[in-house]
Symmetry: C2
Subunit: 138 residues, 2 copies
């Protein structure tokens, strides 16, 4: 786990890691959230809706943003203030997501960083983009 | 599960439900996301940082927004396009959150609704607010 302090961070710093979306994680997310929508649970239903398989919960992919801030950038001293995400393409069970964040703004008065975030699948398709505001609570 | 079609929806329509934050859900979210940050895992660490207990993952609370759209408003035909959340106050294990959404805008060309979302804890404190754009994919 990284433990960057505010003074060690700079605009343009980047971190990334891979996160896997599995049927076990789909099941765990359904139990956790209570979201039993068939798009995420029933393959033939999802096909009727025009997808090639059950679609992964967007908020499951978004859970990796917690890890991006809390483990990588800034890591230990992370306190997430806000998150904005756009879902660009469907994510499926079996996908391997490259989760990336880059510091785009810094506010030294409140030790806040802004991260531009992005996720790509194993085919290099961008599936998610967004922005997070994180306090470095050192 | 609700199954509202676009034509059945109106600006001002609201849905809400209660969701519990438990230590089991904290554990499940940690496994799912890989976010092993001590703020969510170590009570004495969280106290040193000024909190009264381990802080629930913001993205765990946010997972209930998946349920808000996918089960309640619009329910079955939900396809979430984007989510914006601000974390206003800490959430702790044992908290019972009232998760609410209200339709604030509708775009009939693309059958998109905008939900103003909010979460309150059992003491009536607002802990999260935000906005979601959802396609009614009927």
């Amino acid at each position: 786990m990284n433990s960057f302090r505010f003074d060690e961070l700079k605009i343009g710093m980047r971190e990334s890691f891979r996160a896997e979306v599995s049927s076990e994680k789909m099941h765990a997310f359904r139990e956790l959230s209570g979201d039993c929508n068939p798009l995420h649970n029933d393959e033939s239903y999802a096909r009727e809706k025009g997808f090639r398989d059950k679609v992964a919960f967007g908020m499951l992919s978004s859970s990796f943003l917690s890890t991006l801030a809390g483990v990588y950038l800034p890591g230990e001293h992370s306190l997430i203030q806000s998150v904005e995400v756009k879902f660009l393409k469907p994510v499926y069970s079996g996908d391997s997501l490259l989760v990336s964040g880059e510091i785009s703004e810094m506010n030294s008065t409140v030790k806040q960083i802004v991260l531009k975030v992005s996720m790509e699948n194993q085919s290099g398709e961008r599936v998610l983009k967004g922005k997070m505001k994180v306090i470095v609570n050192e």
